[in-house]
């Protein structure tokens, strides 16, 4: 078996004397910048091709339901075809089109009728989120239809999407169905955030799903960013420490996004709960780097953190360094758009003014070096 490795190269052994020793960042390259003739502007990027399909299934027979059939009959036909190993993508695409071809009420009724029957079949596809929270891949016919139901209900203002979601969320039969139901309920009821947060907490403590987290379970972590509930910080931090690798990564992304969607709430939570993420100090520092310095409350939360005696100087230095270039995870989420926009001029000015004030007033004498570096990077 191949032993693969990452291809970054370490340039200085670990444990430098804190971040003050960052002289290396002014590399010993020749001071003269050789300005060569820049190449002519390339043409805009060539059209991209569609990537090959990602299914790892064996080739299957291809059949397409007859469009002339009533919707319920089409769904039944697809169920039967899936049970015999038909190509799911073509089948489901055809059904999706058929559902859009009729009155939404009629399509919703057909879906509700099938869901009530309790029947199902595997598609062999992975739970995959696409643009706008719609699924690019559904592992079962029921999940596919719940996804369609959510979209149809949202677009037509029908309450069925939320109603079915609440029913599904009463019993823990399928993490994938829970994930799509959480999304459908959020789309259906803008006031459902506390309920969604409660259901998300149930998910995070349900051992069968935690022990073998599938894609739907992990994608449901986007609900955490949607609820903007800082109370999730601690369970996610615990998951970072003790969860299995998939959970650790999902928790890391969720924490980062939660800190982006609710920066003040997360910073206040971390300041009020100093033990949380104390074992991941550089990761904790990142969440304070989401602050918008044009908001005085957020600036004060950062200052409260920098005033803390339990936070080490290297951790505080990490925060200051991260302010120069905040990072975001980008993907299609069930409920949240991916990343905040780049900082506005007002936000940049507020950050620069604050840093200047901190330097001039020697507010943080142990952090003068990283503050001066930050100032230099921001002016670069």
């Amino acid at each position: 078996m191949k032993r693969k490795r990452l291809l970054v190269a370490l340039t200085i052994a670990a444990f430098l004397a804190g971040f003050a020793a960052t002289v290396w960042l002014r590399p010993a390259v020749s001071p003269e910048k050789q300005r060569v003739n820049t190449s002519p502007l390339p043409q805009s990027s060539a059209p991209f091709s569609n990537a090959p399909a990602t299914s790892q299934n064996q080739p299957r027979a291809k059949t397409t339901p007859a469009k002339s059939l009533p919707l319920s009959a089409q769904i039944d036909a697809i169920l039967a075809a899936l049970q015999t190993g038909a190509d799911p993508r073509e089948q489901l695409d055809a059904l999706k089109a058929a559902l859009r071809d009729v009155d939404p009420k009629q399509a919703i009724a057909a879906i509700l009728n099938f869901l009530a029957s309790g029947r199902d079949a595997s598609t062999g596809l992975a739970f995959q989120v696409g643009e706008g929270g719609a699924l690019d891949g559904a592992p079962t016919l029921r999940v596919f239809l719940m996804d369609q139901l959510g979209q149809l209900a949202r677009d037509s203002g029908d309450a069925a999407g939320g109603n079915i979601a609440r029913q599904v969320l009463q019993t823990k039969n399928s993490a994938d169905e829970w994930a799509i139901s959480l999304r459908n309920l959020a789309w259906s009821d803008p006031n459902a955030r506390p309920f969604l947060a409660g259901k998300m907490r149930e998910m995070l403590t349900y051992q069968p799903w935690l022990q073998k987290p599938d894609s739907g379970f992990l994608e449901a972590f986007d609900v955490i960013a949607y609820t903007q509930d800082p109370g999730f910080t601690e369970p996610l931090a615990d998951m970072l420490r003790t969860g299995n690798p998939p959970l650790q990564r999902a928790a890391a992304v969720a924490l980062d996004r939660l800190a982006e969607t609710a920066p003040l709430a997360v910073m206040n939570y971390l300041n009020n709960n100093p033990g949380v993420l104390a074992d991941k100090p550089f990761v904790r520092a990142d969440y304070f780097a989401k602050a918008d310095f044009s908001d005085s409350s957020q600036r004060k939360a950062v200052e409260a953190y920098l005033d803390r005696g339990d936070v080490s100087v290297p951790e505080k230095s990490k925060l200051i360094s991260e302010l120069a270039s905040p990072g975001s995870f980008v993907s299609d989420g069930l409920l949240t758009s991916s990343a905040p926009p780049e900082p506005t001029e007002k936000q940049n000015s507020a950050l620069l003014d604050t840093v200047q004030h901190w330097i001039d007033s020697q507010k943080y004498p142990h952090l003068q070096t990283p503050l001066l570096e930050l100032q230099q990077e921001l002016a670069h």
Binding site: L7, K33, V36, S44, A46, F48, L247, S325, P326, A339
Partner: protein, 248 residues
């Protein structure tokens, strides 16, 4: 400074050179300063308290495409002090600028498919980018093409970057595949006819469009010593949307 990177050579020994595979070699300054090679640069950054080097490519006027693991680490979070030095060669360079924004392409379940540093599941989603305040190459940038089929139809793909295991890290290295890439999983492709070395992470994979124009079609993300192989994250539709939506 970068000479210190050579100590890693002792760790990884010279095993990569013991196999019948093409190895990265310096391009020479003249080629490195020729478009589109002149769009490639070295990425210096901190992760935790340690300093590293990787590589990247100017892919839009203000943006550099690189590997995701250059940008983020599970224990240390986001990398900092990310300095892109374009067309570095033997001490001289064209421009140098700190990043102002960092992005990693990957969400809850894709990133969660991470079972260790050698996991193909992690490499399949290993793409990131930096956005800069000012234009990086006077408005020029490398063309890109999200077309994975180019990689599986034969050899001739060029992998580039600033290798710092067996080289100084100050020169642009290039290695050309002898055979086609094989899709391992998702967007992660491998090629056994080449070796790659530490520091090349984030460097581009270039393909000829048949008319002599070179396009970025992937990003160098991984290597294997036993057996020797190079791993890349290809540009696919997700990558194309990432570039189109978040980079400028």
């Amino acid at each position: 400074m970068k000479k210190t990177a050579a100590f890693l050579s002792a760790i990884f020994c010279a095993s990569a050179f013991a196999f019948a595979a093409s190895n990265p070699a310096p391009t020479g300054q003249s080629l490195a300063r020729t478009f589109p090679y002149s769009m490639i640069g070295q990425v210096e950054f901190y992760s935790g308290r340690s300093a590293y080097v990787g590589s990247g490519t100017v892919i839009k006027t203000h943006s550099v495409l690189t590997a995701g693991h250059v940008m983020w680490d599970p224990d240390y979070g986001w990398s900092t002090h990310m300095l892109f030095t374009r067309s570095l060669y033997s001490g001289s360079y064209i421009s140098s600028q700190y990043a102002r924004r960092k992005y990693i392409l990957g969400g809850y379940s894709t990133n969660a498919n991470y079972y260790g540093p050698d996991s193909v599941l992690a490499f399949a989603n290993d793409m990131g980018a930096m956005v800069f305040r000012n234009t990086i190459a006077d408005g020029a940038y490398a063309g890109w093409w999200a077309n994975p089929t180019l990689l599986t139809s034969g050899g001739g793909s060029k992998l580039l970057g600033y290798g710092a295991e067996f080289h100084t890290g100050d020169e642009l290295l290039s290695v050309t595949t002898l055979d086609a890439f094989t899709r391992t999983r998702g967007g992660f492709y491998e090629n056994d006819s080449i070796s790659v070395e530490g520091g090349m992470s984030g460097g581009p994979v270039l393909e000829d469009d048949g008319s002599g124009n070179l396009y970025v079609v992937g990003v160098v993300v991984a290597g294997s010593d036993h057996p020797v192989s190079g791993g890349i994250r290809v540009l696919d539709t997700k990558a194309a949307r990432f570039i189109g939506s978040y980079l400028r």
